[in-house]
C-alpha cells in the first residue's frame, strides 16, 4: 500500500507534471500514490490484475446489473412511477462496484446518492431498491424517504441524509466503533468532488487520521457537482493532494477501470483492517448523465469532453472489452450476463410495482424507538 511497496516499478512525480495534470490522458496506464512529500506514479500491469473466471463473472454481473437497474429506474421515472426525483451513477459503476465488492459481509458500507453499484455489490436486493424508489411499503424506509437516500440494515448499509458531507463523519464513527471493538473490520465510504468542499469532509478526515480509524474514503470525482465543474470547486490539480495535510496516504486513480479500483481499494481496506489507519482515494470518472432526472445537462456541460469519456471511458464497455481482450470471458458469456442482469432488474421492477404504498394512517408512527 505504501508507495515504497511499489517503489521498484514506480517513478517519482515531477512537480510540473501535477500542474498540467489531465485526468483523461494521464491515468491511462498508471495511478498516483502520495504519502507526505513522496509522490509516485505506479504503472498498471493489467495482466497481473486479470481475475479468475468466477470473480470475473461476479463482477460482470454486478456491473451490468447496476447499469440495468438504473436504466430500468430511469424508464420507470419517465413512466411516472418514481415520486420526487432520481439520481443515477452512470459512469461510476466500476468505481462503486469495484470498491464495494472488496468490503466483507460483516463490514459496514456508507454509500452516497450515486452509488447504486455499491448497494448491489454489498447485497442490497434490486427489489428493495426499486420498492424504495417507488415509495412503496417494502422499501427499507417504508416510504419515508426516496431514491438512493436508502440504507439496508440486513447488509450493513447506512442510509444517507441529503446534506452532502454529513456521511463522512458518520462513516468515521462507524469505523471508530470497529477500532474500539478491535474486530478487525474496515469501513468504506464515498464522497463526491463537490462533497470534498464541505467542512464535514475535513473534520471527518482529520478525526479519522488522528484516531487512525479503519476508514477508506473514495472520492467519486465525476467532474461535476450538480452544475459546478472542478475548476469552480477546488484549486488543486488532484484531491489526492489533500491526503498529506491529514497525514494519510492518498491515491489518484482512473475510476472507470474496475480492476484498478479493486486493486487500490482492497489494499487500502487491508491496511485499515490491520490498524494502518485511513486512506483517501480520488477515483476519477465522468458523470454520464444529468445531475438528476430533471437536469438539463447541456445547459452548462462541456459536451465534447463528456462525449470523449462516454466513448472511451464507459466503465461497463471497458470491462467487456478487457474480458474479451484478456480472454477471460467470451462475447457470448458477456452478452448472456447482460441479458440476465436486465431480466433481473425488470423482474424486480415488476414486483416492486405490485407492492402497496405505506399506510397513511401510520404517518406519524415510529418517530421514536420504544
Amino acid at each position: 500500500m505504501r508507495p515504497e511497496v511499489h517503489a521498484a516499478a514506480s517513478e517519482p512525480v515531477r512537480p510540473e507534471e501535477l500542474a498540467g495534470l489531465d485526468f483523461y490522458r494521464d491515468l491511462a496506464d498508471r495511478y498516483l500514490a502520495i504519502e507526505g512529500l513522496d509522490a509516485r506514479w505506479i504503472p498498471i500491469h493489467r495482466e497481473g490484475l486479470r481475475p479468475g473466471k468466477e470473480t470475473a463473472l461476479r463482477l460482470h454481473h454486478l456491473l451490468s446489473l447496476t447499469r440495468a437497474v438504473e436504466e430500468v429506474l430511469d424508464s420507470a421515472f419517465r413512466a411516472g412511477h418514481i415520486p420526487g426525483t432520481a439520481f443515477f451513477g452512470r459512469g461510476n459503476e466500476a468505481s462503486s462496484v469495484g470498491s464495494a465488492s472488496c468490503v466483507r459481509d460483516e463490514e459496514w458500507l456508507v454509500p452516497m446518492h450515486r452509488n447504486c453499484g455499491a448497494h448491489l455489490a454489498k447485497g442490497h436486493p434490486p427489489y428493495s431498491i426499486m420498492a424504495h424508489f417507488f415509495g412503496r411499503a417494502d422499501g427499507p424506509s417504508q416510504g419515508r424517504d426516496g431514491n438512493l437516500h436508502v440504507g439496508y440494515r440486513p447488509k450493513k448499509i447506512t442510509q444517507l441524509i441529503s446534506h452532502i458531507g454529513t456521511m463522512l463523519p458518520i462513516a468515521a464513527g462507524v469505523a471508530w466503533s470497529a477500532k474500539v471493538r478491535r474486530n478487525g473490520q474496515a469501513v468504506l465510504t464515498y464522497i463526491g468532488d463537490g462533497g470534498t468542499s464541505t467542512g464535514d469532509f475535513h473534520e471527518a478526515m482529520n478525526f479519522a487520521a488522528v484516531h487512525r480509524l479503519p476508514l477508506v474514503v473514495v472520492i467519486d470525482n465525476n467532474q461535476y457537482a450538480y452544475k459546478t465543474p472542478p475548476a469552480d470547486q477546488y484549486a488543486c490539480p488532484t484531491l489526492a493532494l489533500r491526503a498529506p495535510g491529514y497525514g494519510v496516504p492518498g491515491f489518484l486513480i482512473d475510476g472507470t477501470d474496475i480492476l484498478v479500483v479493486r486493486e487500490v481499494v482492497s489494499r487500502a481496506l487491508d491496511r485499515a483492517r490491520e490498524g494502518g489507519g485511513p486512506t483517501l482515494i480520488e477515483s476519477v470518472t465522468m458523470r454520464l448523465g444529468g445531475h438528476s432526472v430533471y437536469d438539463r445537462y447541456s445547459d452548462y456541460a462541456d459536451m465534447e469532453t463528456l462525449k470523449l469519456w462516454q466513448e472511451e471511458r464507459d466503465p461497463v464497455k471497458r470491462y467487456d472489452q478487457f474480458l474479451v481482450e484478456y480472454e477471460v470471458l467470451t462475447p457470448g458469456e458477456i452478452a448472456a450476463s447482460h441479458a440476465r442482469a436486465r431480466k433481473e432488474a425488470e423482474e424486480a421492477r415488476d414486483a416492486a410495482l405490485k407492492c402497496p404504498f405505506p399506510d397513511p394512517g401510520k404517518v406519524a408512527d415510529g418517530v421514536f424507538a420504544e
Binding site: P83, G84, G135, R136, S141, G143, R144, D145, G146, H149, I161, S162, H163, I164, G165, G194, G195, S197, T198, G199, A225, Y226, K227, T228, D232, Q233, Y234, D299, Y300, F357, P358, D359, P360, G361, V363, A364, D365, V367
Partner: protein, 332 residues
Amino acid sequence: MSLITYREALSAALWEEMERDKEVFLVGEDIGLGGGAFYVTKGFQQHFGRERVVDAPLSEAGFTGAAIGAALAGMRPVVEYQFADFVTETLKMILDFAAGNHYRRMGPVPIVFRLPAAALVSGGPYHSQNPEIWFFGTPGLKIVAPATAYDAKGMLKQAIRDDNPVIFLEYKKFYSYRPEDLPAPLRIDVPGGDYTVPFGKARLLREGGDLTLLTFGTTVLEALEAAQVLEGEGVSVEVIDLRTLCPYDKEAILGSVKKTGRLLILHEARKRGGVGGEFAAVVAEEVFEHLDAPIRRVGAAECPVPLSPPLEKAYLPSTAQVVEALRELAAF
C-alpha cells in the same frame, strides 16, 4: 403591470436591484451558468459576470460566512441556498454572527438569505422543511414569507435594501403557479418597475366578522379554500396573510381577534413547536378578554416530512382539517 409567476417576480427583483446597485451580488451553488436549481438566476451570470453571480464550492458555511464578510465591508450579498433545508449547515453564521453584529455595535450586516422552503412534491425529509422556527427566536433577524408574486418582488427588493440580515423564505411550490389559476386574493398584478413592500404589515386576504384565520406561506391556499367553504355555511372568516414573521404585525392580529373573538392559526410547519405557538401566546396574553373560544392551531403532523405521496399528503395540513377546525370554533 402584469400577471407574472412567483419565480419571474423573484428574478425581476434580483435583476433590477443588481442594475440599481453595483454592491449587490449573488452567491450560491450552481447559480451561474446553470441558473440555479430552480432557474431563478437563469441568464444572470451571462449578464452580470462571474464576480457578481458567484458559483460557490459546495460549502454553505463557507460561502455564507464569506457573504457576511463582504457585507461587513459594505457590499450587499444575496445568498441562495439550494433548498432551505441545507441552511442547517450554517446556522451559526446566521444566528450567531450575522444576527448579533449590530447589537454588538459592530455595524450593519446588510444581507439576504434566500431559502426555497416547504414541500413541493415528494421532496422527502430533507427537501421540504419549513425552517422559520430555527430563526424565529433570535433577535436581529428579519424573517419574511411572501405568498404572492407581488410580495415576492416587493419584499425581495425591500430585503436587499434593508440594512439587516433578512431570512427570505420563498416557496418552491409557488415558483411555477400560473397566476390565472390562483384564487382572486392572490392574483395580483406585479408592477414592471420599482416598488417595495414594507416589512411588518400583514395582508388582509379576505374580510370577515366571525372568525380570524391567521396564516402565511403555502397555506394561504388552504386558508382561502376553507374560508370559502365556511362562507357557504354562513360563517364569515377573516383571512390574514402575515407576510412578515419578524417583525410581525401584532396590531393586525390583535385587531382582528378583538373583532371576531375567535382565532385559528394555520401554517405548513408542524403544529407542535411551530411559530404559531408564539402568536397564540401573544393573543392569550394581550387580548384574552376578547376571546370567545379556544385558540386553535392547524399544522403538519408530528414527524419528519415523508416522501411517499400518501404519507406526504397525510403529513401536510389539509383544507379539510382547516374546515373542521373552523366549524368547531364557530360552534363553540
